[in-house]
């Protein structure tokens, strides 16, 4: 038995037929081919799957796809402006904010939610905000630097 879900993803109206048990992240990756959103754990702890639902960062592995009916979802694919990286993406690039890159989409979506409410976060605030995003490569230091630089670039 499937249910039809209609929502907006990265500004486009889309719909998919999913089972009630389908997770939002599964629908994004498997029905909509948006594989930039990653799945890193089974315990809602790693943050590789972070997307924005109606403007707020959430773990897409811990929301049912059917719950996104009518929602406005933004994924990492919707962040750049065509071929021009978003200032936050550019900052990760310039500050070596990634190694394998697995955690990066979640880091960037989480960082954008932080900067939305707090345009000039301190290093401590950035580190605390990243509580829900795990990285197994970088040791976080360059991620924090990247977010600091990205926030500065976004302030202009």
């Amino acid at each position: 038995m499937t249910v039809s879900v209609s929502l907006t993803v990265n500004g486009e109206a889309v719909s998919a037929d999913v089972e009630p048990r389908t997770l939002l992240v599964q629908m994004l990756r498997e029905n909509l081919d948006l594989t930039g959103t990653h799945v890193g754990c089974d315990t809602s702890q790693c943050g590789a799957c972070v997307v924005h639902v109606d403007g707020e960062s959430v773990k897409a592995c811990t929301v049912l796809a059917v719950q996104a009916e009518g929602a406005d979802v933004k994924t990492i694919e919707g962040v750049a402006d065509g071929d021009t990286l978003h200032p936050m993406q550019q900052a990760f690039h310039e500050n070596h904010g990634l190694q394998c890159g697995f955690c990066t989409p979640g880091m960037i979506m989480s960082a954008l939610d932080l900067v939305k409410n707090n345009p000039a976060p301190s290093e401590k605030e950035i580190r605390e905000w990243l509580e829900g995003n795990l990285c197994r490569c970088t040791g976080y230091h360059n991620i924090v630097k990247s977010i600091d630089a990205g926030a500065a670039a976004m302030r202009g």
């Binding site: 038995m1 249910v3 089972e19 009630p20 048990r21 997770l23 089974d42 315990t43 809602s44 702890q45 943050g47 972070v50 707020e56 960062s57 959430v58 773990k59 592995c61 811990t62 929301v63 049912l64 059917v66 719950q67 989480s110 939610d113 932080l114 905000w129 509580e131 829900g132 995003n133």
Partner: protein, 264 residues
């Protein structure tokens, strides 16, 4: 995840009716506990009844007596509420340290207390402030609400609708968080509550509990020194890979001291 039927409830009564007539139907609030449970196939509900979208459960209101917070209010909204910060700052502070930002954007007050995880933060605030839980059927005092490990006084057809927290004098919460999840390994809420001094402990035992000896000591002398010499027995406390029962007992005294110091 096992499959289930998904129903979006239109009202509290509709939700209560569905779970009341089918003991394998389950309510869904923020999903921050229940969806991981489903993913691990630890539950196989027939129907999942979504409370998201039910009107009237997401308000925060304050008056001279205290604050009333709707069951579907997210942790992030409690943390950011000017009303909560003005009436009971310790409660806003507690909410701001639950899990991580994404958990706080989804997780709800009602879901947290209905779940009654032994390491959850809110139970300490409810018992520490002497709050009252309102359901679709009745009002339940916090002291009677949390009945055991993942157990509450809620009936199968009962839905939490709000919690009323009375204003307190000095109050604060301190926890020793699990470094991965931020759940409390031991957390202590101290308050000069409406009905006297309360000291509520979460994380350490199977269910939130009060420490009468600390309450009496603080009623006589509100200072960190007053609780410094009061230990609690390790017997029956939680023991896991993160901490032994003895370590948790030790942490309770340390967190109680720090909470009193933080309350000022």
């Amino acid at each position: 995840m096992y499959n289930f039927e998904y129903r979006k409830a239109g009202s509290v009564d509709e939700a209560a009716g569905i779970v009341g007539s089918d003991e394998d139907a389950k309510l869904l609030a923020g999903g921050m506990t229940y969806i991981p449970t489903l993913k691990q196939r630890l539950a196989s509900p027939t129907t999942v009844v979504d409370l998201n979208g039910v009107g009237g459960l997401d308000g925060i209101s304050a008056d001279g007596n205290g604050v009333t917070i709707g069951a579907m209010v997210r942790h992030a909204a409690v943390a950011a509420s000017a009303d909560v910060a003005a009436a009971i700052p310790a409660l806003a502070d507690l909410a701001s340290h639950i899990g991580d930002p994404q958990v706080r954007n989804r997780g709800t007050l009602g879901g947290s207390i209905a779940n009654n995880d032994p390491a959850a933060d809110y139970p300490a605030a409810l018992v520490g402030l002497g709050a009252t839980v309102q359901t679709n059927k009745r009002a339940i005092a916090a002291d009677d609400f949390f009945t055991g490990l993942f157990e509450t006084a809620l009936d199968q057809d009962e839905v939490v609708t709000s919690v009323s927290f009375p204003r307190a004098g000095k109050a604060a919460y301190m926890k020793f968080p699990n470094p991965a999840s931020r759940y409390a390994i031991a957390g202590v809420f101290v308050a000069q509550a409406a009905d006297g001094v309360r000291v509520a402990v979460t994380g350490a035992g199977p269910c939130v509990f009060r420490v009468g000896e600390m309450e009496a000591a603080l009623a006589a002398n509100w200072s960190a020194d007053a609780v410094a010499g009061i230990g609690i027995p390790a017997d029956g406390l939680n023991e896991d890979i993160h901490a032994s029962a003895e370590y948790r007992a030790h942490l309770v005294t340390v967190m109680a001291k720090r909470a009193v110091a933080k309350a000022g």
